[in-house]
Assembly symmetry: C2
Homo-oligomer: 197 residues x 2
Amino acid sequence: MHAGLLGKLSATLRCLPGVGPKSAQRMMLHLLQRDRAGAEKLAHTLLEALQKVGHCQMCRTLTENGICNICQSSERDPSLLCIVESPSEMMAISGSTVYQGLFFVLNGKLSPLDGIGPKELGIPMLETRLASGKITEIILATNTTVEGEATAHYLGELAQKMGIRTTRLAYGMPYGGEIEYVDGVTLAHAFNLRKVI
Amino acid sequence: MHAGLLGKLSATLRCLPGVGPKSAQRMMLHLLQRDRAGAEKLAHTLLEALQKVGHCQMCRTLTENGICNICQSSERDPSLLCIVESPSEMMAISGSTVYQGLFFVLNGKLSPLDGIGPKELGIPMLETRLASGKITEIILATNTTVEGEATAHYLGELAQKMGIRTTRLAYGMPYGGEIEYVDGVTLAHAFNLRKVI
């Protein structure tokens, strides 16, 4: 739509998730017309983050330190290990305060067709960690998608071979959810796993 | 929510319009996990645009050249001048191809309480341009808000003093609009300005 640098900036802003051509144009005009200081700070922070942020050597989450704050913390229970697909899920769980153990981030899920096997998910690293004997329970918190379930199944077998207690997050109705709007599979799980009160 | 550089990047992404804390976190994770090349390009393009993009010396729109492509074009009618509030409106009008004249961008609207008077809107520059005698009609395409109307009124008086034909975009029903959903003021205008067919 625009030529030159304005067009290039609009196009580049579309690398952001959920940003289409209209939003990109709006962002470009906002930054150049009203918030040049913010734009400059954004550019420099992005470059700094790209340079410094890598993966934690213990749990593979994103961090600017070699080992992330959670893995370094002495206040967390080192015998519990929660396995998630991505840093955003780790953030959601660590933000909810219900869980005070450690994490392991797969940064993906098993997907042989896309060439994503155990090695790409850091599973050799996880095995070494499980073999150290410090972990007494792993909690499988992969998503409830086909690949998430397959990944959980694979990890479950691995941990059970090593004699480590393995749990999976509970299925059921989301709290505050209305039955009318809950999907069929969730409802089926909620029925099958119903509890005596 | 996050400490360190990740938190700083999340916070900085919120300078983008329409981006709240959740979207900012999603953008941060996407850039760092999945699109580092895009993020780097974005940062460099931002810096380049901040350095090179300024306002056109003729029409005050955003451009990386001293004079923008539209003002430089020999294919546009130099006797027509359309006055808009911002570059995005100029882009919308020049994109619709109905208008083939030149533009003048106020980069704001008269708002004495906020200290925005004629000088801030480049009106002395506009007066010089109108006095040159090359322009035979100005089209007031400011928004139909209170300040937009006040700005149009001010500019209309100015042009009429100089004997230049002054027009304002037509009010009425938007094409394809359903009467049921059109607001009362628009409907009142559409009735008052109704035409014999």
